[in-house]
Symmetry: C2
Subunit: 585 residues, 2 copies
């Protein structure tokens, strides 16, 4: 991954591939200039706190691990500083990497993890398990600057250890990345069926620790529905469960590991449900004259049990964004497109209200075609019009590219981020309307033109997830404040509307202030109790999942540029300091 | 419920309705005599320890609750002593109710529960939440004779508080019994779809606390799959979660309440998934020439996604028992039956190996008939022969009656009990063979003829549950020892074969010695940590879910008649003592 943005070094958003995008953004965000700010700091000029080094700890590691498993290399420290949230990238782009760990360790076996944990516990050293580093909720942020901090990068534990072809289970090391995992399972004719937006850059262990959801969760479930057994190394020893489909053995300890966000131990291995590679996959696009009709179409499919594996319904603004994101049309497509537009206009589709829906059906050929047929009858009843397989193809080709937009816009002094939640069907319309209104109002408060879009995905018999995307011009010097205010408003709207703080992005730092409201104070107390029991010395990712009595104040302090962040690092170079000041003004 | 056996006072096993049963039992258990032992003790002669009475606690209760909510009535104390396991009924039938609580409280609201918990915590008084009292794993057994003990009977908290018809969720008080719950939901056209064998005599809260599974779990899931939100009163306050389909809010605290077996608090309310009442329900019976073919048939349905809502495949011995359990045939049925027998013989079915399978398909009419058709093609391929709707009807008519057999047999000095587990598909055959062999060998060790049968039910993509039933003649004076040895052997076989200690009966006292092997020592430590955090004074159902360092010894001590049980109670009446001695010899 890039240290300063999303994706591989060579991957980026190319305006020429999406010719409508920047004009669209300029128009909706009231931007006049085409200027963009070059990145001002190279990796070399990032301000890194000097690495703390506990000699007895290092000596112990050197005895048990190979030299190539331990590093305090500058680039690695920077990469392991943060995840990929707005706050993370914003700071890195300004040369701030105060969250950098002092050391990175690459375990190659569970034994290596045990050795590191034991040595860390003996020397009161903080460990932060690191998967792909793609988290955007602040799960990886170092909370304690006083103790030595080690990032435990799990990428070398990447083997599929066993596939049980009769039981459709696979035992897998936690550090494996999405594509590698699917390659290994594919060799057995199997798939996990877990394809989050971060698929290219995230790991099995990370998915489990954050309760991740893949695009096709409607068919395959969230990651917590896939885990059958788990191994987690804790400071008190190895927690392990049995490979059984279901049990009544008291409290389900699998669920103590799932969602633990690195606070209890290191997930080293999981046995998960796998599936035969689907015989058939059909990705399709539809247009609905309005959002409500699209929601009704999804709801009816849930009721009639003909759900696709994936459904994404964009609201009008997200639809406009998606259309602006399309690759440049060929001559023929242009002509077909203009005919189609005329047809839509004749059918009463008004562009500002029209909503794009993307679906993927997959499984056995017969089942897929049956479901697709049944679903299309429902879509039509709800006013949907098929866009043919082209829209599906275009989605498939670019489905992991969306996060690159943020880097492109950050370069142009535009803040964008996302907040997602879930609620029951009866509450979806109200939650959508309230939150969109809150988002727009909050951004507008500073006299800035707001952009807010939403899509519905991850549906369940009792409800669905709502995924909000927002963007606005930065007020130079107020960027972090602007972001925090907007982010706070949207999260507060979730909670005020009875929804949850996140459907699949985790609690981290970003959502901590709403944890007690979500799971109740007694819930927080229960989680703390597990923490105290398994990690009495608080060496595992401290500060997470345990809100203080003033979580919102803490949160603002963490995010502020003027106060703690500036203080956190020692800015030695006056030129650097001047440059940053200029930015901050 | 009867205090001395299963079911309503008026319900019992009538030999005349099952004319083949007793001859079958006599023949397979080597019994010659038709004598049966009359129950020797009436309710009045049960030896009850004097009720402890903490005056400040009682005074507090009297201030906050109505007189009809508090009782130390003899019958109520006896009924609340135990669940309905073999050990429970065996002791009660011998006048032993050492586990009786000192007081029974009937809360009518969450406030009543809070008041009782607070008062109990102040006075160091033990509380045991009590649902229907049908548990057979020893979950309700008082572990601490030194402190005053209150049974918190939840039956008056029985209202369906809200039904969200759009989201298909219902908010329900935890004390509601199965039939009452289905009546209330039925008025909204809804069903929970949870029908455990104990349905008539168990409650929503009990199901959640023990991770119960209903007969139709293949369609509706286990209870842990149904719970969306929960309220649990703990000594540290009320834990509550939000009504959202899924979340990523750290560790899922719903799963700390589910399976907590009364050790953390009192579940007062849950919001659960509900379903439209099924349009169609088809119950059918099939006969397979051997067990393996039946297993293959179930497995293929899982793979081809045409599972029934319920499937129960009996092994040969369980099949013979089921056939012996049938109601007397009418003249016409007799003739049809004998034709059918000839047909089966011609097809190569040998009775000692033939296996009965019962299935129920339910849902929308179209879906049901499609699945049934698809499944029947598979059944036929695997050698199955349809028995028509008659077998289904007969199952439907008697599906909750099976537990009555135990009382009938206990009256005739025959011990019967069950142990169930779950494993992955690749391990089912080995687990079945090993455990059946172990069961028979262990019973035979005392020179007694063994009977052991098994059925498969509750199937999943990766495995299924195996449910073993066993029976044998009692050796007078050694009854408890015999039982414990056999029970230990079967549980040990589960663990040795990689399976779980129970699929849906809970840990309780009966399965405690295998808890650490099942969830690992660190898992046990995690559970203990939650307990210490939410119930620091250990007032909630103490002694459960926390094995000592010598769990098996403790377990034998708990079960033994000679030692602790005899000592536990004060046998004041010499005549009673003489009678019991006679029994014990």
């Amino acid at each position: 991954m890039k240290w300063w943005g999303w994706g591989y070094e060579e991957a980026q958003f190319r305006a020429s591939n999406h010719p409508d995008f920047w004009p669209y953004a300029k128009s909706v965000l009231d931007i006049e200039s085409d200027d963009f700010t070059r990145r001002e700091w190279s990796l070399e000029s990032i301000e890194l706190p000097e690495a703390r080094a506990d000699e007895p700890f290092l000596a112990k590691l050197r005895t048990c691990l190979a030299p190539c498993q331990i590093t305090d290399n500058r680039k690695e420290r920077v990469i392991h500083s943060y995840g990929k949230g707005f706050r993370d990238l914003f700071r890195l782009r300004r040369g701030i990497a105060a969250g950098a760990p002092d050391l990175i360790v690459y375990p190659e076996s569970e034994r290596d993890v045990c050795v590191t944990l034991r040595a860390a516990a003996e020397r009161d050293i903080v460990l932060i398990p690191f998967g792909g580093g793609s988290n955007i909720a602040g799960c990886l942020e170092r909370a304690d600057a006083r103790r030595m901090c080690v990032s435990l990068d799990m990428r070398r534990m990447r083997r599929v250890l066993a596939v049980d072809r009769r039981s459709f289970t696979a035992q897998i090391e936690a550090g494996v990345f999405g594509p590698d995992l699917e390659d290994q399972l594919g060799a057995h004719g199997m798939t996990l069926g877990h394809f989050p937006d971060s698929f290219l850059h995230s790991t099995l262990g990370g998915w489990i620790a954050t309760r991740s959801a893949g695009m096709q969760s409607d068919k395959y479930g969230k990651i917590e529905d896939m885990v059958i057994a788990i191994r987690m190394v804790t400071p008190e020893g190895v927690l392990q469960t049995r490979t059984v489909p279901k049990s009544s053995n008291g409290i389900d300890v699998n669920h103590l590991c799932i969602g633990s966000e690195g606070t209890l131990g290191v997930i080293t291995e999981a046995t998960v449900r796998v599936h035969a590679l689907p015989e058939s996959r059909q990705v399709r696009g539809y247009l609905f004259p309005e959002f409500e009709g699209g929601i009704e179409a999804i709801f009816e499919c849930v009721r009639q049990e003909c759900m696709p594996a994936m459904v994404r319904l964009n609201d009008p603004d997200k639809t406009a964004l998606s259309l602006a994101f399309r690759p440049p049309p060929s001559g023929l497509t242009k002509i077909a497109g203009s005919f189609f537009k005329t047809y839509l206009r004749a059918k009463g589709f008004a562009q500002p209200r029209a909503c794009l829906m993307l679906t993927a059906f997959e499984g056995g050929r017969r089942g897929v075609s049956g479901r697709l047929q049944q679903a299309e009858v429902i879509y039509q009843k709800c006013g949907g019009v098929g866009l043919g397989a082209g829209a599906g193809k275009s989605f498939e080709a670019t489905k992991y590219d969306f996060p690159h937009i943020r880097d492109f816009l950050l370069d142009r002094n535009v803040t964008t981020d996302v907040s997602e939640t879930a609620t029951v069907w009866s509450n979806i319309a109200k939650l959508y309307q309230d939150t969109t209104a809150v988002l727009r109002a909050e951004i507008s408060k500073s006299g800035i033109r707001p952009w807010a879009g939403c899509h519905i995905s991850h549906t369940y018999p009792c409800g669905a997830s709502l995924y909000f995307t927002f963007g606005f011009r930065q007020q130079l010097g107020r960027e972090m404040e602007q972001y925090l205010q907007v982010k706070r408003a949207v999260q507060q709207s979730f909670i005020d509307n009875g929804a949850t703080l996140s459907h699949h992005h985790a609690v981290g730092t970003e959502h901590m202030p709403w944890l007690a409201a979500d799971i109740s104070l007694v819930g927080v107390k229960a989680v703390s109790a597990i923490k105290h029991g398994l990690d009495p010395a608080n060496i595992m990712n401290p500060g997470r999942l345990m809100p203080s009595s003033t979580p919102l104040e803490d949160w603002f302090a963490l995010g502020s540029q003027r106060g703690p962040i500036e203080d956190e690092i020692s800015v030695s170079d006056p030129e650097q300091r001047r440059k940053r000041r200029a930015y901050d003004r």
